[in-house]
């Protein structure tokens, strides 16, 4: 699906269009895809310039992919703090706005406040975790780029961003490693 013009302009403003070309190699098994990845690394392609595309999670490192850093664990803490604050605010302000004085006890009744605050804390933590997962996964992605539907049928894709002068070398590496098809974005 084509990206709307305004989004394209926004994306270009954030990261200027690259001269690199995208190449996608399709492999039938993990071993061939991993070999192709190793060969690319050997040919001087930085590991940030290629990605494996699969239809299910492979054990970390099994394809020789780069280690991914993320800050997902921060999100639940921020969410929990915000949720707790909202819980305290809602329960305290409700009681102060409409005081129900019972037998000379304090207006703010702490045990029920704790229950609502607990739920608020958990809700905040979970909402922010989900936001974090989407954000850290770099989603939503409006343009899929070079892709093949066979990836969700069990094939492994190796997508490379290569300089124009490296293009033929990358294609050769993929073919030698056993790619069943190599596609380019031209």
């Amino acid at each position: 699906m084509a990206m709307p013009a305004i989004l394209q302009r926004m994306r270009d403003a954030i990261s200027p269009p690259s001269t690199k070309q995208a190449i996608l190699g399709l492999f039938q098994d993990a071993e061939s895809a991993a070999n192709a990845g190793d060969a690319l690394k050997g040919a001087g392609v930085p590991d940030t310039d290629y990605d494996f595309l699969t239809d299910s999670p492979y054990p970390e490192g099994s394809l020789g992919e780069r280690e991914e850093k993320h800050r997902l664990y921060l999100y639940p803490f921020i969410g929990a703090l915000l949720g707790l604050s909202s819980g305290i605010m809602i329960t305290a302000m409700s009681q102060v706005a409409y005081p129900l004085v019972t037998g000379g006890k304090p207006v703010l009744s702490l045990p029920p406040m704790a229950i609502v605050c607990y739920e608020g804390t958990m809700l905040g933590a979970i909402l922010f975790t989900v936001i974090g997962i989407v954000f850290e996964s770099r989603l939503p992605k409006f343009q899929l780029g070079i892709y093949d539907n066979r990836i969700t049928q069990g094939f492994l894709g190796l997508r490379v961003k290569a300089e124009p002068e490296q293009r033929y070398e990358v294609i050769e590496i993929m073919n030698s490693a056993g790619a069943v098809e190599v596609k380019t974005d031209e």
């Binding site: 992919e65 029920p112 609502v116 739920e119 958990m122 989900v130 992605k141 069990g154």
Partner: protein
Amino acid sequence: MQEGKVLPAAQINRDLLRSILETPRWFWPVVSILGLVVLAATITIGIMINTGLGITGLNYKVVWGFFITNFVFWIGISHAGVMLSAILRLAKAEWRRPATRAAEVLTIFSLMTAMIMPIIHTGRPWRILYWAFPYDFARGIWPNIRPPLVWDPSAILTYLTSSTLFVLIALVPDFAVLRDRTTGWPKIVYTMLAMGWEGNPRQWKLQIIAGVLLSALILPVFVSVHSIVSWDFGMAVAIKSWHSTVFAPYFVVGAVHSGVSAVVFAMILLRWAYGWQDYIRHEHIDALGRLLIVVATGWFYFLVMEIIFGIYGLEGDELAVRALQFLPGEYGVAYNVWMIVFVGITYFLPVILWLPKAWRRNLWIMSAACISVNVGMWLERYLLFVPGQANKQFLTFTWNDYLPRWPEALIVAATFAFVSMLMLLFSRVFPLVPLYDIKEGDILRTEMQIGRRKLTATFRED
């Protein structure tokens, strides 16, 4: 030992997306029948709101009857999702894979159904808004946060939101499979839902962490929800047999008991309806059967404790309620007979059926045992709530009994039709067995030769 065989990804897609890409002949007639039952109940709710709760069997003593029993029952069923998905995911139990999504979806639909019950039970549903939420700024009316009336919505809405997000996040990779397998407007919808998922290592890494992290975060919510539901009763000092400190864990374990049984039955139905024999296998049902023996026994322990706690204090009016529950009936309904039936069909019958391995692998026997548990658990809630309100005391005339009338019976029956209909409709548009989870399981499986035996083993990454 693992059973089954490693299947190619294309076949997994074809088998598990069959419910979406092809419509079985029975699908729309079944959904229509269920829809008609739901429609009849909706009309009845309309009549009840217009006429008042007087058309039900509720009366000045027994104010919580079928509706609240059904509310607690569906909240209980909703605990299956987290029990199966979160605990088994954290424990890295391999046999969880085909069951997790159905369990999570059942959680969402049963929670939605449960929420309807107290709302219609109020008789004036629109008032719920300003009882529970601080919104009526103009009149300066604010909710009283001290009773469980406010705790319940806060817990249930947290659980519903969390469970829905949990399911949606896990569905994203499967949306991508559907995006690649569909055409026309379904493709546009699935493309939007997939959000540009491509399945790179970063996305998979976060998806795996998401499963574990969200499981760990939802678990405390799961425990709190049924604890808070139990406090709807446990905090009512005036009603004997309700005011018990053991209620929270008793309710949580009971919820897991009925919820997991419901999931087992749903899985057996799905296996039969969509021909998922290669995915929902006898080994999975067997493992769930073993788990259920432990859960059922835990529940039985709390049941006995609840009764002992009630009797141990030797308070006259508490003993009167217990007499109503356990001794031969002297008025109206014979609760003691129902108590025997309930304990029999909730614990003794199913546990006997779950003990032999051959019976755990017989889907007819497992279905019967799981239905038996759920009928029993519904009865359990009824027998827990109604006798207490009858408020029988020696030498008083201030007690009354409860007999449900047709509107309650129809609405309760329709809730089962409603959940079944929603599950079927969900299976028509989204995969009920997680595709990537099954494929991951197959990647990690291998055959090992040990001595003279060849075994199927699954590797687990720590």
